[in-house]
C-alpha cells in the first residue's frame, strides 16, 4: 500500500481513500450512500441538515456522531451508516422539516424530484403532524422572469446561498433573522427581480425542495401549439441534446438531437431548427468582429456575449466595461431574429404575425434575455416569444405521452437546422473560444486549421489560459466559468494586468451543459464532464467541424446577409448593452 493510500471501514467493508475531501465522498466511492439535503459536491460543505450523520468509532473505542459531509476521512475509523441513533436523527429531522413545510406536493413544481419527498418516503414518515405545524407563511416571490421563490418550502439547507456566493461571487440570496425565524431572502429583502440576480438558476439547480423553481411557460406553449391559427417554431441549444435524455433514464452525455427533433414534431411544433446552426452563425460574426478589433486597434480584450447571465452581470456590476463585450447577439438571439426575418420567405404558410418562436435552453437566464428591450420588434412583440428550459421540455414530452427513447430519428428542418462541431461545443466552457479559434485562424491566415481540437481549452475547470499562434500572430485567450472568476478578470483588466485579447465567460460552472435549466442532478459530481464529453463526441463525429464550412451558413450569407459584419448582419445579428444599475439593489461582488 502506498503512503497516501489509507483505509477505513464502512459498514464492515474496508475502503481505501486518498484525497477525498470528506467522509461522504468516501462512502459514495465505496458504492454506499447516506441521505443529504445540504451537501452538494461543488459547494463548500455546510453540515446543517444533519441527514448525512453517521456513527464513527475511533480505534480507541470512542464513538461519536458526526455529519459525514464535513468530516475529513481518517485512517482506522469504523463508520456505521444506519445505526438506531443515526436513523432516529434522520427520521426526526424529516418529521420536523415536514411539520414546518408547505406540504402541497401535488401542485409543487419539484414533486417527483424533491429530495424531501423522496427521503420522507424512504424513511417511512407517516405522522407529519407530530410536531408543531407551520405558522409563518410567507408570500411567494414571483417577481423574476426566470425563477420562483417559495420560502414556505424552504428547509434552510443553504445550498442556494452558497451557490450564489461561491459560483457567482454574488450575495443575492442570504439568511435573514435567527433561530426558528431564519429564512432565506434576496438582498435587503427586495423582490428577486430588483436585485443583482443574474438569473443563472444555479440556486434552483441545487435546491432540494420546491423553494426555488424555474418559472415555467409550458402551459403557454401548449396553448400556442393547440391554437390552429398559430405556427410554432422551435430551436434548441447545444447542451439540451446531451442532458434531456437523463429525464428518460439515459446516461448524462447521450446525444439525443434527432430524438428531440422527433419529439418536438410529435408535440406539434411546426418547424424545428437548431441553435447549433446559429452558434455557427455567431462564430462567423464574432470571429470577424474579433479579428477586426485585433487588427484595427479596437477595444481588447473582447468579451464573448453568448451568456445572458454574464451580460447582465456586466451591465449591473461593470457598465464601464460594456465596450469590451462583443456586439454579437447570443445564438438564441441570432436565430430568433433570423427565424422572424426569413422563415416566412421559405415557408409561405407562416407569416410574421402567426409565427410563434419558442426556444429550448439549458439556461434560466435565457428567459430574461429573450425579454430584453433590444429584442423587441416594431409590433411590440419580442423576437422570441417563449423560452423553455430542458426541464420544461422533458415535462412537456412526458405530458404528451411520448415514449422518448423509442422515437425514430428525425432531422431538423432546413434551412437553419444544419450544424458543425464548432457550433455544438458552444455548450461547454471553452467551446466558444475553440470554435472561434477554428474560424479566426482562417480569417487571419487565409489557411485552414488542420488540428481543430485545442485541448488546453477543454475541461470544465474554472480558469484556462491558452496562447494561440495564428501563423505568426500570437493571440492569448482566457476562458473562465462562474462569475466569481469573471469578477477577478474584471479587476485584472482594470488594474492593467490582463495580457489576453479574448475573454470567454460562461456564468454556470462548466458552461451551459451545467445550466440552471438542465435536468436536476443533486449529487453526481461527474455530470458536467459526462455532458461535456457528449458534446465533444458530437463534434468529433460531425461532417463539418468549422463554422464557416456549414453549407446552410454559407447559403444564408450568399442569399441574405452578404458577409459577416455586413450592414444587414449588424441589423439582425448584433445588439447593444446598457447600464442597468438604476432600480436594482447592487451589493458588492466578491
Amino acid at each position: 500500500m502506498s503512503e497516501d493510500k489509507k483505509t477505513l471501514i464502512i459498514e464492515g467493508k474496508e475502503v481505501e481513500f486518498t484525497n477525498e475531501p470528506n467522509l461522504l465522498e468516501v462512502i459514495r466511492k465505496a458504492g454506499m450512500n447516506v441521505p443529504t439535503f445540504c451537501y452538494r459536491p461543488d459547494l463548500t460543505p455546510f453540515g446543517a441538515c444533519r441527514m448525512c450523520v453517521v456513527e464513527v468509532i475511533y480505534p480507541n473505542g470512542r464513538t461519536m456522531i458526526n455529519s459525514s459531509c464535513t468530516m475529513p476521512p481518517e485512517a482506522g475509523i469504523k463508520v456505521l451508516l444506519n445505526t438506531e441513533r443515526v436513523r432516529k436523527i434522520r427520521k426526526m429531522v424529516l418529521e420536523l422539516l415536514l411539520a414546518n413545510h408547505d406540504r402541497e406536493c401535488t401542485s409543487c413544481d419539484k414533486s417527483g424530484s424533491c429530495e424531501l419527498q423522496q427521503y420522507a418516503e424512504e424513511y417511512g414518515i407517516k405522522d407529519v403532524k407530530k410536531y408543531a405545524q407551520k405558522e409563518d407563511w410567507q408570500e411567494i416571490d414571483n417577481s423574476s422572469d426566470c425563477l420562483v421563490r417559495d420560502n414556505n418550502k424552504c428547509i434552510l439547507c443553504g445550498a442556494c446561498v452558497r451557490a450564489c456566493h461561491e459560483h457567482q461571487g454574488l450575495q443575492v440570496l442570504g439568511f435573514a433573522n435567527r433561530g426558528s425565524a431564519t429564512h432565506v431572502q434576496p438582498m435587503a429583502g427586495k423582490p428577486l427581480a430588483d436585485t443583482e440576480c443574474i438569473n443563472c438558476g444555479q440556486c434552483a439547480a441545487v435546491c432540494p425542495t420546491g423553494a426555488l423553481t424555474i418559472k415555467s411557460v409550458v402551459n403557454d406553449v401548449w396553448a400556442e401549439i393547440t391554437n390552429p391559427n398559430k405556427k410554432v417554431v422551435a430551436q434548441f441549444a447545444p447542451s439540451v441534446r446531451v442532458a434531456l435524455g437523463e429525464m428518460f433514464g439515459l446516461k448524462p452525455g447521450v446525444n439525443t438531437t434527432n430524438k428531440i427533433n422527433a419529439a418536438l414534431k410529435k408535440i406539434g411544433f411546426d418547424l424545428v431548427f437548431d441553435t447549433n446552426f446559429s452558434a455557427d452563425l455567431t462564430i462567423m460574426e464574432e470571429a470577424q468582429e474579433f479579428v477586426t478589433r485585433l487588427t484595427t486597434g479596437g477595444t481588447l480584450p473582447m468579451f464573448t456575449s453568448c451568456c445572458p447571465g454574464w451580460v447582465r452581470f456586466l451591465e449591473l456590476q461593470h457598465p464601464d466595461m460594456l465596450n469590451h463585450l462583443s456586439t454579437c447577439k447570443s445564438p438564441q438571439g441570432m436565430l430568433g431574429a433570423v427565424i422572424r426575418e426569413y422563415v416566412p420567405q421559405y415557408y409561405p404558410e407562416i407569416t410574421k404575425e402567426n409565427l410563434v418562436s419558442v426556444s429550448i435552453m439549458p439556461c434560466t437566464a435565457k428567459k430574461y434575455e429573450a425579454k430584453r428591450e433590444q429584442f423587441k420588434m416594431e409590433d411590440g412583440r419580442q423576437e422570441i416569444d417563449y423560452v423553455m428550459t430542458t426541464q420544461e421540455l422533458g415535462r412537456m414530452i412526458k405530458s404528451a405521452g411520448i415514449d422518448f427513447n423509442s422515437l425514430e430519428d428525425v432531422p431538423a428542418d432546413s434551412p437553419f437546422g444544419q450544424y458543425t462541431g464548432a457550433g455544438t461545443i458552444f455548450g461547454v466552457s471553452g467551446g466558444v473560444a475553440e470554435a472561434a479559434a477554428r474560424t479566426a485562424y482562417t480569417l487571419v491566415t487565409g489557411q485552414e486549421l488542420q488540428n481543430v481540437v485545442i485541448n488546453d481549452m477543454r475541461g470544465t475547470h474554472r480558469v484556462k489560459t491558452v496562447e494561440l499562434d495564428l501563423n505568426g500572430t500570437k493571440v492569448k485567450v482566457k476562458i473562465v466559468n462562474t462569475l466569481a472568476e469573471a469578477e477577478k478578470c474584471m479587476r485584472e483588466i482594470k488594474e492593467g494586468k490582463a495580457d489576453y485579447q479574448l475573454l470567454e465567460v460562461m456564468a454556470c460552472p462548466g458552461g451551459c451543459i451545467n445550466g440552471g435549466g438542465q435536468p436536476l442532478s443533486f449529487n453526481d459530481s461527474n455530470i458536467k464532464e459526462q455532458r461535456a464529453q457528449g458534446l465533444y463526441t458530437d463534434d468529433e463525429q460531425g461532417q463539418y467541424r468549422k463554422s464557416h464550412e456549414n453549407p446552410e451558413i454559407k447559403e444564408l450569407y450568399d442569399k441574405h446577409l452578404e458577409k459577416p459584419n455586413s450592414h444587414k448582419s449588424h441589423e439582425l445579428l448584433h445588439t447593444s448593452y446598457s447600464d442597468k444599475r438604476s432600480g436594482c439593489y447592487i451589493g458588492i461582488a466578491k
Partner: protein, 614 residues
C-alpha cells in the same frame, strides 16, 4: 530588553506614594448603584484634607468588580481591613469623618452576617470572601483597573518577561500542560493540549483569539476580569501567542460590555506604549498585535467556530468540527481560542509554576474556578473556589444559605446548557467530570440556586425559551427541535399537557442532543433532561392533576375567597386590576375564575387573610 523587576519596584514605590488607599468598586454592578458619584464625593473630600492620622494623603482607587455586587457600592479600605457595603453618596462624608479621620468605623455600613445579623468588622471574617480562593480574580477589586502602573506593581507582565527571556515556547506549553489547566469557558478541554495542537502548525500566520463573549444569563466572571484586571488577560494572550507562534490576536467581547471594552482598549494602548504589546515586545524579537472585536450579542457567538465566522464578518453561525480551529480557524489559519478566565490563569501558572496550580483542585480538574452565584441564596455574587469544592460549601458557607429560611430545592449549573441538580448532589465534587456524570456541566460557571417554591417545569421552559431564541437557525435539530420542545413545555405549564407530550419531549431532547451541529444544540436539552430525571413528578402533576406543586404556574393557580373570613370590605374588588371580584359591601366577595389573571394583588390586599391560593 526591559527589566521588569525594576519596573515593578518603581510601580510599587508609586503605590506607596498614594498614602491611604480607598478602594471603591467601579465594576458594572456598582457603577449602576452609583459608585461613580461615591468616587467623586470621596475625591472632593480627599482634596480638602491636609493631614490624616497616619497618612499624609489619601488616594481614591476606582477598582474592578469585587464580586459582591449585591452589596454594592462596595468601599474597601485595605489598611484598615474594613469593607463597607451598600454605600450611598450620602454616606461618604460619614465614612470620611468618622473612620478615615477619627478612626471610628461606621457600624451601620458594615456587612452583617445573614444568620446572626451581626456587623462584621474585618474583611477576612466575611464568609463570602473568607471561604474563597481568589487567584484569577486576585487583583480584581484591589487595583485601579485603568492603571498599567498598578498592574505592574502586582507582578503584571512579569510572566511574559519570563517566557520571552527564557525563549522556549515548548517549555511554556509543557508548563501549561503539566498544570492541568482546562478550558474555563464550558468544554473543559485541556488547555495545554489545545496549545500543542495549534503550535504544531507553527511557521505561517496564526492567531490567538480570546473568547469574551460571555453569554450565559447571570454569568459575569469574564466581564469582571476584563473590567477589573485587563492587563492579566493581555499578558495571558501574549504568552499564548509566544507559545504557539502567533503575532496577531483578537479579543471578542460582547458589545453589551462597554466598560470592559473601554478598559481593554485603554489597557492595550497603555501596554503598547510601554512595549508590553505590539512590535518587538520588551525589546525582543517577539511581536504581538491585539485587536478588539465587538460582538453583536448573539449567544451562539460564544461557540468558537461561530465566533470565528463573526470576526471574519460572516453571519455568526457555527461550522462543523473537524476541522478544528487549531488547524483551520480564523481566516483559514491555525487559531488558538481560549476563554478569558483560562487566559487569566496563564500568567499565574508561569509565575508560580505548574505544581502550584496543580496543587489546587482535584484529580482531573486542577486550579480554581469562578462561579456566578445567583438565585435564592443570601450572598449572591462572583466567587472563586478550588475545583472540587462541594455545592454545599458554596451555597451554605459562601452563599450564606437559602434566603428567607426556605428549603433548598435545586441548583442550575452551567447556564442554559447545564442541568439541574438536587439535594442528593449537594456533596458531589464540583469538577468537570463529576458534574457531567450527574447530568450538568461546569459550563462558564453559572449557579442559579432555587428554593422550594420554584417550579422545575417553568425553569425548563425558561431555559428552553432562551436557547430557542439564541439558536442560530443553521442545523435542523436545534432550530426546529428547540422550538418544538419549547412548545411542549409551554403547553404543560399552561396545564394543557398530555402524558404523551412527555415521551415526545424526551425523544426530542435526546435526538437534538445527539444530532445538533454545535455545542449550543448538543446541550440545549440538558435542563429538560435533568428536570425530567429529577422532577418528573412535577411534570406529571402539571399534566394529570393540573396543579403546579410550587404554585408558580399561573394557569393552574386558583385564588379563592373564604366566605367565612371575608368581611365584605371591598378592598380586594377595588384592587383587582381586571374587575374579577364581585360582591357587595359587608357581604362575602367572590372571584370570577374566568376573569382572574392570578396576579395575587387581592391576596396581598386583604386585611383579613380571607383570600388564599391553591
Amino acid at each position: 530588553m526591559i527589566d521588569i523587576i525594576e519596573e515593578q519596584n518603581k510601580a510599587q514605590e508609586h503605590i506607596k506614594q498614594q498614602g491611604l488607599r480607598v478602594l471603591v468598586c467601579a465594576g458594572t454592578g456598582c457603577v449602576a448603584n452609583g459608585s461613580l458619584k461615591v468616587i467623586e464625593k470621596f475625591k472632593e473630600l480627599g482634596a480638602n484634607v491636609s493631614a490624616l492620622t497616619d497618612y499624609d494623603k489619601m488616594t481614591i482607587v476606582p477598582t474592578g468588580c469585587h464580586g459582591f455586587c449585591e452589596q454594592g457600592v462596595l468601599v474597601i479600605i485595605p489598611d484598615k481591613h474594613v469593607t463597607y457595603v451598600k454605600v450611598k453618596v450620602e454616606d461618604v462624608e460619614e465614612i470620611f469623618e468618622s473612620h478615615i479621620k477619627n478612626g471610628t468605623p461606621v457600624e451601620r455600613l458594615l456587612y452583617k452576617d445573614p444568620k446572626t445579623n451581626e456587623a462584621i468588622h474585618k474583611n477576612d471574617d466575611i464568609n463570602f470572601y473568607a471561604k474563597q480562593t481568589r487567584t484569577a480574580l486576585k487583583n480584581c477589586g484591589k487595583i485601579n483597573a485603568e492603571s498599567l502602573e498598578e498592574a505592574i506593581s502586582v507582578r503584571g507582565y512579569e510572566a511574559l518577561a519570563k517566557v520571552i527571556t527564557e525563549n522556549n515556547p515548548d517549555n511554556v506549553i509543557d508548563t501549561i500542560t503539566k498544570s492541568g489547566l482546562r478550558g474555563r469557558g464550558g468544554g473543559g478541554f485541556p488547555t495545554g493540549m489545545k496549545w500543542k495542537f495549534t503550535a504544531a502548525n507553527r511557521g505561517g500566520k496564526s492567531y490567538v483569539v480570546c473568547n469574551g463573549d460571555e453569554g450565559d444569563p447571570g454569568a459575569f466572571m469574564d466581564r469582571s476580569v476584563m473590567e477589573g484586571d485587563p492587563h492579566k488577560l493581555l499578558e495571558g494572550m501574549a504568552i499564548a501567542a509566544f507559545a504557539i507562534g502567533a503575532d496577531e490576536g483578537y479579543i471578542y467581547v460582547r458589545a453589551e460590555y462597554p466598560l470592559a471594552i473601554k478598559r481593554l482598549r485603554k489597557a492595550i494602548a497603555d501596554a503598547e506604549e510601554r512595549h508590553f504589546l505590539g512590535e518587538n515586545i520588551m525589546g525582543s524579537d517577539f511581536s504581538f498585535t491585539l485587536h478588539i472585536k465587538e460582538g453583536a450579542g448573539a449567544f451562539v457567538c460564544g461557540e468558537e467556530t461561530a465566533l470565528i465566522a463573526s470576526i471574519e464578518g460572516e453571519r455568526g453561525m457555527p461550522r462543523p468540527k473537524p476541522p478544528f480551529p487549531a488547524n483551520k480557524g480564523l481566516f483559514g489559519r491555525p487559531t488558538l481560542i481560549n476563554n478569558v478566565e483560562t487566559l487569566a490563569n496563564v500568567p499565574l501558572i508561569i509565575l508560580n509554576g505548574a505544581d502550584w496550580f496543580a496543587s489546587m483542585g482535584c484529580d482531573t480538574s486542577k486550579g480554581t474556578k469562578t462561579f456566578a452565584l445567583t438565585g435564592e441564596v443570601n450572598n449572591t455574587g462572583l466567587i472563586e473556589v478550588p475545583m472540587g469544592t462541594t455545592l454545599r460549601q458554596i451555597i451554605f458557607d459562601i452563599g450564606g444559605g437559602i434566603r428567607g429560611g426556605k428549603k433548598f430545592k435545586a441548583v442550575q449549573i452551567g447556564g442554559p446548557s447545564g442541568g439541574c441538580l438536587t439535594e442528593e448532589h449537594l456533596d458531589i465534587s464540583m469538577d468537570y467530570d463529576s458534574l457531567i456524570k450527574a447530568g450538568a456541566m461546569v459550563g462558564s460557571g453559572g449557579l442559579v440556586v432555587m428554593a422550594e417554591d420554584t417550579c422545575m417545569v417553568e425553569v425548563a421552559r425558561f431555559f428552553m425559551n432562551f436557547t430557542k431564541n439564541e439558536s442560530c437557525g443553521k442545523c435542523v435539530p436545534c432550530r426546529e427541535g428547540t422550538k418544538n420542545m419549547l412548545k411542549i413545555l409551554e403547553k404543560i405549564v399552561k396545564g394543557k399537557g398530555e402524558m404523551s407530550d412527555l415521551d415526545k419531549l424526551e425523544e426530542l431532547a435526546h435526538t437534538v442532543k445527539d444530532g445538533s451541529l454545535c455545542g449550543l444544540g448538543k446541550t440545549a436539552p440538558n435542563p429538560v433532561l435533568s428536570t425530567l430525571k429529577y422532577f418528573k413528578d412535577e411534570y406529571i402533576a402539571h399534566i394529570k392533576d393540573h396543579k403546579c406543586p410550587a404554585g408558580v404556574c399561573s394557569a393552574m393557580k386558583k385564588i379563592t375567597i373564604n366566605a367565612d373570613l371575608c368581611k365584605g370590605c371591598t378592598k380586594c374588588a377595588r384592587t383587582c386590576p381586571v374587575g374579577a371580584i364581585e360582591g357587595t359591601v359587608k357581604n362575602p366577595h367572590k372571584i370570577n375564575q374566568e376573569k382572574c389573571i392570578k396576579c395575587e394583588a387581592c391576596l396581598n390586599a386583604c386585611p383579613f387573610k380571607a383570600i388564599s391560593k391553591e
